[in-house]
């Protein structure tokens, strides 16, 4: 047996990746582990940005992690599985520099023919992405990716699990982890006329914590969205494509939006941003109040008080301070650009993402 190559990945399965970010003394963020395997590619960079003003005392430099896949998307059957550990006091920015995560669909007859002996000619293989992030005390994750774009007839499932520390005892524990997670999905390639024409998109974001007393895992937050055409094989075999196009339950259920998404904010680093969102939501003009105004153009009337009127008018959003200090922002917008502009404007306007992680954290917005 030859000497084991030091470059050989310790990860056997394709699509798996592992990242561990540690803080070496005195305050030097270092990736102690970074492995990945095709079709996944992970790149990192430390831009040398030092947070000048921060919600935490002595913040460390944020390290950037780029999630890449060969071809910029996922093919049926692709399984991405990334595990990230942020040790205490580290900071990481995760972005998708290739633009939106495309969920492709290939003609299953041509590609899987006879290979696995699975007689599944009509529904394509599911592609999936699993992300597991452990965020240590006083560590912060800023995950603002581009949206997922599921192509027609694609099937996709994504589970993102985050584990935070220091949360159970009290909500204002300054040592607890911080999270900013954006998860959004669009109706597909709108320019090609796709409007929620995929078969399945299932996205789940969970935040867990370990209770100090018993060591048991406790679910703090679960945000789960299921967009399912509810088609089965038999239906696809029977139905003609035109009829199927007209009975699209996903389109019915997402109407009138072309993109829907969730932003999860948690922890001291994002507290100010969370409050900003809450204030913005509660100060929205009352629905129905416009009837009392003399002119029908109340939207522009109330706009005088709003700094960015056009975005709020296009984007329907709600912000709620749910439990354990989480602020959950849900939004729906007619198209990707509207949502992006709206979110980008708010995050830049408020400025804490910029101050804590640098301009590049807002790369996708």
């Amino acid at each position: 047996m030859p000497i084991k190559s030091p470059f050989e990945s310790s990860i056997a399965k394709p699509g798996e990746g592992k990242v561990v970010l540690s803080l070496l003394p005195p305050s030097n963020p270092t990736l102690t582990t970074l492995t990945y395997k095709y079709p996944l590619k992970l790149l990192t960079r430390t831009p040398g940005f030092v947070p000048k003003s921060s919600a935490l005392t002595c913040p460390s430099q944020p390290v950037h992690l780029y999630l890449l896949t060969y071809g910029g998307g996922l093919l049926p059957g692709d399984k991405i599985n990334v595990s990230i550990t942020l040790e205490p006091r580290t900071r990481m920015v995760v972005t998708t520099p290739q633009g939106s995560t495309k969920i492709f669909k290939t003609e299953p007859n041509a590609s899987v023919k006879g290979q696995r002996g699975t007689p599944k000619p009509l529904l394509s293989d599911k592609s999936s992405q699993t992300l597991n992030v452990h965020v240590g005390q006083e560590a912060a994750l800023c995950y603002l990716p581009d949206p997922a774009v599921p192509y027609q007839d694609s099937r996709y499932e994504q589970v993102q699990t985050f584990t935070v520390e220091g949360s159970t005892s009290s909500n204002d524990n300054p040592r607890r982890s911080s999270l900013c997670i954006l998860d959004w999905v669009t109706q597909g390639r709108a320019s090609r006329g796709e409007a929620w024409d995929f078969h399945l998109w299932r996205g789940k974001n969970e935040v867990w914590t370990t209770t100090e007393e018993s060591g048991k895992r406790k679910l703090l937050l679960r945000d789960s969205l299921i967009l399912d055409r509810e088609l089965d094989e038999a239906q696809l075999e029977r139905g003609d494509p035109e009829l199927l196009k007209h009975t699209n339950v996903i389109r019915e259920r997402t109407h009138p939006h072309g993109v829907v998404g969730t932003l999860i904010l948690y922890g001291p680093v994002f507290e100010r941003l969370a409050t900003f969102f809450m204030d913005r939501f509660t100060s929205l003009p009352r629905i129905g109040a416009r009837n009392w105004s003399s002119s029908p153009a109340v939207a522009s009337g109330s706009a005088a008080t709003e700094p960015t009127p056009n975005f709020d008018a296009q984007v329907t959003f709600t912000a709620a301070r749910v439990r354990a200090g989480f602020v959950l922002v849900k939004f729906g917008a007619p198209d990707f650009a509207a949502a992006k502009d709206w979110l980008g404007a708010i995050l830049r306007d408020e400025g804490s993402v910029y101050a804590e992680f640098g301009e590049e954290a807002l790369f996708c917005l």
């Binding site: 159970t168 909500n171 299932r202 789940k204 406790k218 679910l219 703090l220 937050l221 679960r222 945000d223 789960s224 969205l225 299921i226 967009l227 399912d228 509810e230 019915e252 259920r253 997402t254 109407h255 009138p256 939006h257 829907v260 969730t262 939501f281 509660t282 929205l284 003009p285 009352r286 629905i287 129905g288 109040a289 009837n291 009392w292 329907t316 959003f317 709600t318 912000a319 709620a320 301070r321 749910v322 439990r323 354990a324 959950l328 849900k330 939004f331 729906g332």
Partner: protein, 307 residues
């Protein structure tokens, strides 16, 4: 795995109970002229089931109690987003009538309620011992505080009704089946935890969401799993329709005719069927705008409902 085995055991029991209930349903259909309690009709109603008469009548009685619109849960105070939906879709395009718009909402609301809550109802029914975990997970999975408030108020009211009214009869019953007594225990434990937590203000303590409690209370009252899920959904439909009447979308007779319609029955049955084996981990929102409508209820200038 443990859950699977329990499910199988329970399902065996359900088959047994269900056959007994056929008889009860048949009698119920004859006895009740009111259309306000549409029940799933099964074709094989002509079985002779006299030996289990005592049990079936008690389950039917529980069914009537829990589906009664006078059950003091305060469900009528919530429109489940209808009020907000109407405000967000105003003015309607000329081609869409208010009733058609309402039907769209009802369909979305039922689908969404089933996908988010039925897995919890059934999980609590199948393993009442997990009530506290299910309650926590339900709380974690409800993204909007308006919906959360509605679920909590009704869930706590259900505990109240159980303790003050139903427990006397159902917990002290002589013929308490093992699952029913487990359910009684689970409610008692949960209620105790709820009360002791009320003082400590533990934000992550037990909450009292409606869906898991519904499952456990129905189990304690001897209903079968299908009925539990079905009545839960019918009650939701009733609440939405009652809200529609009060929001002047339709008249009371029209609302009753929707409630009685085969379409609604099929819709509910189909949704329950779809969620029958869904584990709670996979429960989720299938109508994303509903979260927005419900969450934005607070922004309405005038409100007649709590949600």
């Amino acid at each position: 795995m443990a859950v699977k085995i329990t499910i199988r055991d329970l399902e065996q029991e359900i088959i047994d109970l269900e056959s007994r209930l056929q008889h009860a349903r048949k009698r119920l259909a004859l006895a009740s002229a009111s259309p306000s309690t549409p029940l799933p009709l099964h074709s094989d109603m002509d079985q002779d089931l006299t030996p289990a008469k005592a049990l079936s009548s008690s389950a039917a009685h529980a069914l009537l109690l829990l589906s009664d619109s006078a059950l003091p849960l305060g469900s009528f105070a919530y429109s489940s987003g209808l009020e907000s939906y109407l405000a967000h879709n105003k003015p309607l395009p000329r081609t869409v009538t208010p009733v058609a718009s309402f039907h769209r909402f009802l369909k979305l609301s039922i689908a969404s309620m089933a996908s988010t809550s039925i897995p919890y109802v059934l999980a609590a029914y199948r393993s009442p011992g997990d009530l506290e975990t299910l309650d926590n997970d339900m709380d974690a999975s409800t993204p909007c505080i308006v919906a959360q408030r509605a679920s909590l108020a009704q869930g706590r009211a259900l505990i109240g009704v159980w303790e003050r009214a139903f427990r006397v009869t159902y917990a002290a019953g002589t013929a308490l089946t093992p699952p029913a007594s487990a359910a009684v225990m689970a409610i008692a434990e949960f209620s105790h935890a709820l009360k002791s937590c009320a003082d400590t203000e533990d934000e992550l303590g037990p909450k009292g969401h409606l869906a898991p409690l519904w499952g456990v209370v129905c189990l304690a009252m001897g209903m079968d799993a299908r009925q539990t899920a079905y009545v839960f959904m019918v009650n939701h439909a009733k609440a939405v329709l009652s809200a529609a009447v009060r929001a002047s979308v339709m008249g009371p007779y029209q609302a009753q005719s929707v409630l009685a319609s085969q379409r609604l029955q099929d819709m509910i049955t189909e949704r329950i069927e779809r969620e029958w084996d869904t584990p709670v981990e996979d429960a989720g929102q299938i109508v994303p705008p509903l979260d927005l409508w419900v969450g934005r209820h607070e922004l309405l200038y005038s409100r007649i409902f709590n949600s």
